[in-house]
C-alpha cells in the first residue's frame, strides 16, 4: 500500500548521465533551510536526487539541475523531461560556470530548446521577481558576477521557456549554484541573505 502524504515540498536535484550533476551538493540543504525559515510551507528536511530518465521525476514538480560540463541528454531523459514539463513540472537550471557561451550554456540551452522550445529572456518584471521577496531589478546579482573575475560578466536576465504564462524551464547563467553552495550555518556572516531568490523560485513553482 502507499503512504498518506501531506503535500510536503521535497527539494529534488536532477541526476543526468552526462556531466557533473552533483557539482553543488550543499545547495539543496541551503534552500531547504531558507524555505523553512522564511515560510510556513511544509518542507522535507532532506532533498532527493532523481534520475532525469526515471518515472520518479514525476513525483517532484520542481527539479533543480546544474553542472560545469557539457550536457547531452539521452533519449530517455529527453522523453521523460518532455512528459514532466507537459504535465506542469518546472525545471530550474543554473550554469555552475560563471561565463557565457561556455560549454554548459551552449549544450544545455540546445538540449532544453529541443524539449521545451526556445529559451527567451525573462522580463525583469515577471511574477517570479515578486513571488515572495521583491526583486525590483530582476535577478539578483551574485558575488561571482560582482567579482567579475576580470570579465565584467553580469547577466541582466534569466532565460525561460513558458507554458502559457507559467515558467516551465528557468535557465540561469548567474551561477547561483556557487552562490548558494555553502553550509546554511554560514549564512550568519552575510548582511543580506543571498538565498532569498531561491525562495522565490520555490514559492513561484508552488503557487503558479
Amino acid at each position: 500500500m502507499g503512504v498518506v502524504k501531506n503535500d510536503v515540498f521535497v527539494f529534488a536535484t536532477a541526476q543526468y548521465e552526462s556531466g557533473d550533476w552533483d557539482s553543488a551538493p550543499l545547495v539543496p540543504s541551503n534552500l531547504i533551510d531558507s524555505l523553512a525559515r522564511y515560510t510556513s510551507i511544509p518542507v522535507a528536511p532532506q532533498g532527493v536526487n532523481v534520475p532525469l530518465a526515471s518515472e520518479a521525476l514525476l513525483r517532484y514538480p520542481l527539479v533543480y539541475l546544474t553542472g560545469h560540463l557539457p550536457v547531452r541528454f539521452s533519449d530517455a531523459e529527453r522523453t521523460m523531461l518532455g512528459r514532466f514539463l507537459d504535465r506542469g513540472g518546472m525545471l530550474f537550471v543554473d550554469d555552475h560556470n560563471h561565463d557565457v557561451d561556455g560549454a554548459f550554456h551552449k549544450t544545455a540551452t540546445e538540449e532544453l530548446s529541443r524539449v521545451a522550445g526556445t529559451l527567451a529572456e525573462l522580463p525583469n518584471d515577471d511574477a517570479l521577481y515578486h513571488a515572495y521577496f521583491r526583486f525590483n531589478d530582476g535577478p539578483p546579482t551574485t558575488s561571482h558576477e560582482l567579482n567579475g573575475w576580470g570579465d565584467n560578466l553580469v547577466h541582466k536576465h534569466l532565460l525561460a521557456a513558458k507554458r502559457g504564462d507559467r515558467i516551465a524551464v528557468l535557465f540561469s547563467n548567474k551561477d547561483y549554484s556557487s552562490e548558494w553552495n555553502y553550509h546554511a550555518a554560514n549564512k550568519r556572516f552575510q548582511s543580506v541573505d543571498n538565498t532569498r531568490f531561491g525562495v522565490n523560485v520555490i514559492v513561484y513553482a508552488l503557487t503558479r
Binding site: G2, D7, R59, Y132, R134, V203, L206, T207
Partner: protein, 444 residues
Amino acid sequence: MRQASEWVLRAVAIAAIAVILWRWFRPPAERAAVPEIVTVRGEASTSALRRWTGGATRAGHVSFDGTPDVRTRAWLRALARAGVRIGWSASDAVPIAIAAAPVVDPAGGVRIEVAAPNSARVVVGDALDMSDTVRAMGAGAAVTLPSSADTLLARSGPTVARIVSPAPATLGDVLVLGHAGWEAKFVAAALEERGWHVQVRLVVAPGIAVTAAGVAPDARPVADTSRLAAVVVLDSGAVDAATGAALARYVHSGGGLVLVGDAGAAPALRALAPGAKAGAPIPGVLGALDGRAPRRGLALLPIEDQRPDAVVLEREEVSPNAPVAVSARRVGSGRVAQVGYLETWRWRMAGSDEAPAAHRAWWARVVGGVARAPVSRIASADPLGTPSDPAPLAATIDALGPPSAAPNRSRAPSGRLPSDGLLATIAGAAVLAEVASRRLRGAG
C-alpha cells in the same frame, strides 16, 4: 277495409315525415353527432380541420401516428371549446419529455435529460444532427452535447419532443484558498486550463498570502463574492472565522463551495459540509494512478456521517459500502461539494498519458457541479419560429383530454331510429300505396 288500410298508409307517411322534420329542427345538443374519423399521418390534416372549423361538424375523432404538433393541438382545442366534440387516439405515441440546461463549464455544452419508459430507445440531438441514441434506464436518460444554438429534439418511435437550446451559462471566477503547495498549484492550473478565470489566495507564511497580484497580508476575509462562481478551499487552515462567515453567507445566497481534504473540519465551515466528520486516512493503492481507476491511487480522507440531505457522488471503489470520496448537498440557495481525495496532483503528474486531461475534466466537473451560473436570458423560441413542445403526449392530454377509442363506422349513428333516407323511402312508399289504392277503388 280498403279505406282503413289507406288511412294506415297515410298515418305512416305522416309519421315518417314528422320524424325527419323533428331531426332537422331539434336543438343541436339533442342531435346524435356523427363523428368524422380522420387519421393524421405526419403533418396535421389541415383540410379536415378546416372542414370542421367552417362547417356543421358536430363531432370529430382524430387518430394520430404519434402526437399532434403544437399548432394542430391548439386548433383541435379551439374546436373543442367551440362545441365540436373532439376525440383522439394515438396508439403508437410514446410518453417522452425533454429538458435541457447549459453545462456549467467554460467549454460549454448542453445537458439533455429525457424522461421515457424504461428501456425505450430515444434518439437525441439538434435539428442538424440526430445521432445520439440513448436507452432509458428506469424513468429516463441523460446525454451531454456540445453547445448548440438550435432546437434540441428527442425522438422515440413517432413521438418527437422538442425544446429550444438554452443560453450558455454566465460564469464568474473561481477562488482557490489554501496553503501554498502542489495541490493548490495544480488545482488552479487545471481550472485555468479548462477556461475558468481563477483567483488564488495561498498562505505562504503566518499572515502572508500569495495572490495573483503578488504577496499580500492574509488577514483580509474574502472580499467581493458577487463575481465568484465558486470557491475551492483546500485545507482547514486556510480559512479563519471571518472568511468562514463570509463563505457561509456566500453559499446561502447561491454561491458554490468545494471543500477538499480536511477543509470541512474548519470550525467556520463544518456546518456547511455534507459529511459531519472525516474518517481515518486511507493510503492510495500503489500502481493505480495510471490504471483504469486512477483515483484509487490517491490517498483519501473518507467523508463520514453524511448529513440527511447529502448526496454521495463518488466512492473509493464501485461498491455501495465503500468509503465516500465525494459528496454534495444544498445549503440555502447554494451547493457544497466535499472531496476527500488528497494530493490529486499526483494523478496528473504520474498518471497515464490521458491523466492531465482527465484531471482537468474531473476538477471542472466538481466545480461545475456547484458553481453559481445564472442564465442571463431565456430563449422561448428558436429563430425559425418552431415552438417548444417538451412533453407532447402530456400536452395533448392536457389540451384535449384523455384519448378515446375511435368510433365504429358501421354502426347506425342515430341509435334505435332508422336513418332519414329510410324514413323518406317509407313515407314515399306509403303515399304511393295510398294513391294507388284510392285509384283502384275509384275514389279519385
